[in-house]
């Protein structure tokens, strides 16, 4: 996997040799015996600082699993992950929790805002969890809401916001503590095409203008095309990658991935899986 692409951010891999993510030989197995599932199989994955990478692949190919491992929500069966040069290995639950808190921002498919908190409070949530209560936090939360175009909706509850707006709040929330890495699992999976476009534009701007390192999982080739690089997964293994930007190229590569030969494989792998996520 080579670094760099036309649309990667200011702080490209060339100027900073330490990658944002360096994952080696990642393996994640679920279950055992006949129900054994290899969600990831000795996968190497690397993201440079300031890069925006999209992960694509058929259902059950291990995209979410990879994201969960990168986000320290789960621990790999084997293999190593280093976040900005810092290895996860040996961290206990508390260590992983603090790492998530300080270094990683999440954007979920179902937004996952707390229904009883208003937009501003939802954005401030990570700081509250971290026990930071200085006025600067609130200032930053406000400016982030302004940045995602929701300055006038601060006091609104999630139930009073549209899906796209909720997702923008959740993006602002992910950025509050200036994480090393923003992870988004199908952030537009639940949105109509207009909201989808806004959210995607926002993410790519955050990457290109402000240098945030972003990894997004998506099924949607237009979404993937926004990224600087698209990495394909199949059966828990890497299935090549293409540079982003050109959506025609991405579509072609994706179609190849979904070709009849690999489809049988895919069916087998999803038949093995004990539970479907979607």
């Amino acid at each position: 996997m080579s670094p760099g692409s036309k649309r990667s951010g200011k702080r490209s891999g060339d100027t900073d040799p330490v990658p944002a993510i360096d994952a080696r030989k990642l393996t994640k197995r679920y279950g055992s015996g006949t129900s054994l599932v290899k969600a990831l199989d000795r996968l190497d994955f690397r993201v440079e600082k300031g890069e925006m990478v999209a992960i694509m692949g058929p259902s059950g190919s291990g995209k979410s699993t990879l994201l969960h491992l990168l986000g320290a929500l789960e621990t790999p069966t084997s293999g190593t992950i280093a976040l900005a040069g810092e290895n996860f290995e040996g961290l206990d639950d508390r260590g992983l929790t603090l790492l998530r808190r300080e270094k990683i921002g999440f954007v979920f498919q179902f937004f996952n805002l707390l229904p009883s908190l208003n937009a501003l409070e939802n954005v401030m949530l990570p700081a509250l969890i971290a026990g930071r209560r200085d006025p600067k936090v609130e200032k930053r939360a406000r400016s982030l809401l302004k940045r995602v175009g929701l300055a006038r909706r601060e006091r609104h509850l999630p139930s009073e916001l549209s899906g796209g707006e909720q997702q923008r709040v959740s993006i602002a929330r992910a950025l509050l503590l200036e994480p090393e890495l923003v992870l988004a699992d199908e952030p537009t999976g639940n949105l109509d095409s207009r909201s989808e476009a806004t959210v995607l534009d926002l993410l790519s701007e955050l990457n290109s203008d402000e240098g945030h390192t972003i990894v997004i999982v998506t099924h949607d080739t237009t979404a993937a095309a926004v990224a600087g690089r698209v990495s394909f997964l199949r059966d828990g293994r890497s299935a090549g990658e293409v540079a982003g930007g050109d959506s025609a190229k991405v579509i072609r590569a994706f179609a190849k991935l979904e070709s009849p030969a690999s489809k049988t494989k895919k069916r087998r792998s999803s038949a093995k899986s004990p539970r479907g996520k979607r």
């Binding site: 969960h68 789960e74 508390r94 999440f106």
Partner: protein, 856 residues
């Protein structure tokens, strides 16, 4: 699976974890019912057996209407010559206490009688022989064993004339074979008993055998004896005696059933809450069943089947628990001095238990079942979305309409001086109405209260506190129902202890006002009104008077009576109360009670008492409309007299149901000659301590069953008696509180389940396990604090209403809030909240982040 019902039952077993939480209230409630039923059966059996044994052969028993009263000497001859009486024996009785090496010990109900007299009882000698004469005693075998006495041993007994030593001549067992919970019985030879009890003539009790068989004959003889002796003497069958005790225990039974009912009520509440939650949770599933063609009725029936199955399962467990509760209650009752035999089984207990469990579970689930029936098929698609409706204002209206008459019901209960069924029903109905009303009102106060109560939590832990309080407010109905279940127990504790604290404070205030004495000498453990009591040896008085520094030592005689004297010419019997005998010539020196003497001076009034007049307690005077100048009719075992009332005494002793007279009059009319206690006044304040030491030295040497108490010590004695009684009540309420604890756990588990995804988000955003735990613990705290705040306020209201009622009959009792109890309740609520949170909080903290995030 063959039927729709089978689907229902399959569902039950799929939620095994929460099943126990759901039925815990039923288990504890039916446990109480079964326990109380077994207890009352046991008590009943104890007394029936007791009187069967003691009065084995006797058809009729004659005794004075007042506790320590004596029948005149010629009474025995008069009974024997009454037509229809075959034979009769007399005995004298007293309560003695065993003097061991380490001071006074167990009390012994001793009877002095002849060998013939003994043959009336149904007992058999198990070792040694019957008493014949001289200083020997015959003791009930299990009591003797418990106190380490065998035939041939010497037993030192504190008698009304001092310590006397007895050789144990024999041990006997009652032929019914029941032991009486440590209560002691024994016989002395008649002559010795007369000397020891200081009763040279007269009888405490006469037993008669009727010559003809059949109740008709017994009734006839009873009527003849009634006519012969008048109302001062009670003629009663052994069965009647047992019935009488039963009816005296009626009040206790009512209290026991009341608490059992409350525990069950809480149980029903938990069922209600739990089923409400499940119906909401299964909305989609039920909607789906409706789309598949299940009718409303089927859905309703399926919920009811589920709940009744749980009800039966819960009550089966409850029956087991009930046996434990009965055993615990028996131990408790023995500890407050009620003789209770070994546990008796009755088939009625399990039947009632299952029935009550079934009814409670079904009633509790009725509303959720109907709600389930109303679920529209579209819910299969929508789930419970958009259903979080706010409680409707009509609820509040109904709630208020229930609380107000409920308080009135409680007032009625307090005001009654006889616990008739109607009064008890009004009271219990009232209290239940209050709780129902509160349950309806509670959802409205949950939101503001939880915001208020979570304030300190939010200050300490902004995010956890905030989330916890939101969680509590998100579902006000559920939070309210959970808090209400807790509130019931807490309110009962506060309400009941309000009575205790008010009485205690009022009594202490009266003591402060009325006690001009410095010291009081009395038998240890004196408790007038709780059956026959020990009395003082006459020689004590003289010895104390002779001590240096003693200005006045004067005896007081307190005797419980079933019938207080009535105004002459009025019909009917007087109420039960306390007869009080004192020496009016010196009493003023030791007592400064407030007395209304009309036109007379205090000294003049006392002088009139010395000449035979009476004073009457304010409670009795107001209730019966007795005024100064009224003529009262005194009908005792030894005579009948009339006497005028010269004063009304402001006392709350015995609820003000008292009639006082001179010692001579008491002896003449009622045959009461022994002193209950001695009031002592020292020559000066400085001499007090020395006098007390002197008296202590005297008692230690010669009268170890007696004790001398300063006024403060008397107060704390009364306090410990009251708190012992209320401790018993508190123990009963604890069962209801325990049940509500499980209710909180249930609600929290539900809340954790509902917020699984939220917990996942928090964890993903960097919340530690510990923070998640705190959120759950905080929600628990908020619920339990709402319960405590409401419980304390309702309890104060309840206590106040009960007390207003009581004060209507006992003038002078003033409400004083049980501060200690209120603090204890608040602390207990915090602890309960934390305990309830342990398991749900751990479960929440252990949730796998990825699983939680994908939870729907």
């Amino acid at each position: 699976m063959r039927s729709y019902t089978a689907v229902t039952l399959r569902q039950l077993s799929s939620r095994r974890g929460r099943l126990f939480l759901t039925i815990s209230g039923i288990v504890l409630g039916t446990g109480m019912i079964v326990g109380v039923l077994l207890l009352t059966t046991t008590i009943q059996r104890t007394f029936t057996d007791l009187y069967d044994s003691i009065y084995g052969k006797a058809d009729l028993v004659l005794a004075a209407t007042s506790d320590a009263g004596a029948l005149p000497e010629d009474a025995l001859a008069r009974v024997r010559t009454t037509q229809g009486v075959d034979s009769a024996v007399g005995q004298v009785t007293a309560v003695l206490s065993l003097v061991g090496a380490d001071g006074p010990g167990a009390e012994l109900n001793a009877a002095g009688t002849t060998v013939e007299g003994q043959s009336y009882s149904d007992l058999e000698i198990v070792s040694g022989r019957k008493v014949r004469g001289g200083r020997e005693a015959e003791l009930e075998a299990s009591w003797a064993e418990a106190n380490g006495l065998q035939v041939g041993d010497t037993a030192s007994l504190a008698t009304p004339t001092g310590i006397r030593d007895y050789r144990v001549a024999g041990l006997f067992k009652f032929s019914t074979g029941v032991d009486f919970g440590g209560e002691g019985f024994g016989f002395l030879p008649l002559g010795e008993a007369r000397r020891a009890f200081g009763q040279p003539a007269g009888w405490s009790e006469i037993q008669a055998v009727v010559s003809e068989e059949g109740t008709g004959a017994v009734d006839q003889v009873k009527r003849r004896l009634d006519a012969e002796f008048g109302p001062g003497v009670e003629v009663i069958t052994p069965q009647g005696k047992s019935d009488q005790i039963q009816s005296q225990l009626q009040a206790l039974n009512v209290i026991l059933y009341f608490f059992a009912g409350m525990a069950l009520f809480v149980g029903g509440f938990l069922i209600f809450n739990s089923f409400n939650m499940t119906v909401l949770q299964r909305m989609r599933e039920i909607g789906m069943q409706r789309t598949l063609g299940a009718s409303r009725g089927m859905v309703v029936r399926s919920v009811l089947t589920e709940s009744s199955t749980l009800g039966i399962a819960g009550s089966l467990l409850g029956i087991l628990g009930g046996i434990g509760i009965a055993l615990a209650l028996i131990t408790l009752l023995r500890s407050i001095g009620l003789p209770v035999g070994a546990l008796q089984w009755t088939a009625a207990a399990p039947v009632a238990g299952i029935l009550m469990g079934l009814i409670t579970a079904t009633a509790g689930s009725l509303i959720p079942a109907l709600r389930a029936g109303r679920i529209a098929p579209i819910r299969a698609v929508l789930g419970s979305e958009g259903l979080r409706s706010r409680p409707k204002p009509i609820r509040a209206a109904i709630g208020i309409c229930l609380v107000a008459p409920g308080l009135y019901g409680a007032f009625t209960l307090g005001a009654a001086d006889q616990t008739t069924t109607a009064v008890v029903a009004a009271g219990i109905g009232g209290i239940i109405a209050i709780f129902f009303g509160i349950a309806l009102l509670a959802p409205f106060v949950v939101s503001p209260l939880s915001r208020l109560l979570s304030w300190p939590v939010r200050k300490l832990a902004p995010i956890e506190g905030r989330l916890a309080s939101d969680s509590a407010r998100a579902n006000p109905t559920r939070t309210a129902a959970t808090a209400t279940a807790l509130l019931i127990g807490l309110a009962l504790v506060v309400g009941i202890n309000s009575l205790g604290s008010s009485f205690l404070n009022s009594i202490e205030r009266e003591f402060d006002r009325a006690f001009a004495r410095d010291l009081t000498v009395q038998p240890r453990g004196l408790n007038p009104g709780a059956g026959p009591q020990q009395s003082l040896a006459p020689s004590v008085l003289g010895k104390i008077s002779d001590l240096p520094g003693v200005a006045v030592a004067t005896p007081e005689r307190l005797v419980a009576t079933a019938q207080l004297p009535q105004v002459a010419g009025r019909k009917g019997n007087g109420p039960q109360g306390l007869l009080f005998g004192f020496d009016p010539s010196v009493y003023d020196k030791v007592d400064s009670s407030q007395i209304d003497t009309g036109d007379l001076t205090r000294a003049e009034a006392y002088a009139r008492v010395g000449k035979g007049a009476l004073t009457v307690g304010k409670g009795y005077a107001e209730e019966a409309g007795i005024e100064i100048g009224h003529e009262m009719l005194l009908e005792g075992a030894s005579g009948v007299e009339r006497a005028p009332v010269v004063a009304v005494v402001d006392t709350i002793l015995a609820g003000g149901q008292t009639v006082s007279m001179s010692l001579e009059k008491m002896a003449r009319v009622y045959g009461i000659t022994s002193d209950t206690q001695i009031a002592v006044k020292a020559e000066s304040v400085d001499a007090r301590a020395e006098v007390k030491r002197e008296i202590e030295r005297l008692l230690e040497a010669d009268y170890p069953n007696l004790t001398v108490l300063s006024n403060d010590e008397i107060k704390s004695e009364v306090e410990s008696q009251i708190s012992q009684q209320f401790g018993f009540f508190n123990a009963l309420v604890a069962v209801a509180i325990l049940a509500s604890l499980f209710g909180i756990v249930n609600t929290l588990s539900m809340s954790v389940l509902e917020r699984t995804r939220e917990i996942g988000v928090l964890r993903a955003l960097g919340a530690t396990r510990w923070q998640i735990r705190r959120t759950v613990a905080n929600e628990s705290l908020i619920i339990s604090l709402i319960g405590a705040v409401l419980g304390i306020s309702i309890g104060v209201g309840l206590g106040w209403a009960l007390l207003q009622g009581l004060a209507a009959g006992v003038p002078g009792v003033v409400y004083s809030p049980p501060i200690g109890t209120m603090l204890a309740v608040a602390v207990a609520a915090v602890l309960l909240g934390l305990i309830a949170a342990i398991v749900p909080a751990r479960r929440a903290a252990k949730l796998d982040v990825v699983d939680a995030l994908s939870y729907e």
